[in-house]
Symmetry: C2
Subunit: 173 residues, 2 copies
């Protein structure tokens, strides 16, 4: 039941690798908290803050075009997404358009103004993210990003059902 003390030395981290994933949740939280704080400032007056930025990002392309798909991707309730898009639309950055393949759904599309705003913010966010990960060298930053994207994408494809995992324990013991 040994714990990390200094925690900054890669050698020490290495030594505990086989004992478990200790502090994975803490590390995820610490990095994400910093990301949120830093990006909040970087997007300053954008409606919705970092979340508004993520909506703009999804609206530039990718598989998530409708409100429901966007909401699920960034982990917010569909009612929250409604307000988020209300605000972005009021700011003239996005528009709701009917989805030709499903008349219940709405496609969220960038206005020209939204497109240029996104380009500007994307550059800022990139700088912020590099600052957040400034404790790592460039190669490590790339590796971390790839690993996170692979892990997150796998969850997207095959979501972990918390109940299933809980069941496994009970079978194990």
């Amino acid at each position: 039941m040994r714990r990390l003390e200094g925690m900054a030395d890669p050698g020490e981290l290495q030594a505990t690798r086989d004992e478990g994933l200790h502090d994975l949740g803490w590390a995820l939280g610490a990095v994400l908290r910093t990301w949120l704080k830093a990006t909040s400032h970087a997007v300053d007056d954008l409606p919705g803050g970092p979340r508004g930025y993520q909506v703009l990002s999804m609206a530039t392309g990718g598989p998530c075009r409708t409100q429901a798909a966007m909401a699920e991707r960034i982990g917010v309730d569909r009612t929250v997404m409604t307000h988020l898009i209300d605000d972005l639309e009021a700011a003239g950055l996005v528009e709701r358009r009917p989805d030709p393949s499903d008349r219940r759904a709405r496609r969220v599309e960038l206005t020209p103004r939204g497109r240029s705003r996104y380009a500007e913010l994307a550059s800022r966010i990139d700088d912020v993210e590099r600052a957040v990960l400034s404790g790592l060298d460039d190669a490590s930053v790339g590796e971390l990003r790839d690993l996170l994207l692979r892990a997150a994408s796998a969850l997207d494809d095959q979501p972990i059902d918390a109940c299933d995992v809980a069941m496994e324990f009970q079978l194990d013991r």
Copy 2:
């Protein structure tokens, strides 16, 4: 301004490495959300849920022994930490003891019951974390954990001031 489409193919990820850190925030959020959902079930009736578990974890050792230090480490307000420890103490898992080096502060220590409860939960959490990262092979899981711990520890040592980063932009442009 190219965006990822499929997003699951490492080759494609590689190709965009030099173009920016796109979707780093999304990936962090997606993995952490799953971690929270899964660990919430794994600790079921523990007061405070995953956060309560993190408090127990800190109380087993490491540099954060007082409420203030613990609160800062896991990113909650000190008032929240008060309630968190109230509940854990009521459940007989931790005790507040005077800090010999600072009579304002309180050291949070595990009771024998808290110690055995933690040992049990730590094993579950470890299984859950492996399930959350089941999209990666074992070697990648270890790499991801090390990189996250290094990034988070660096933030701990030298916190990124969001305002400073924001200032840099204004100087750059």
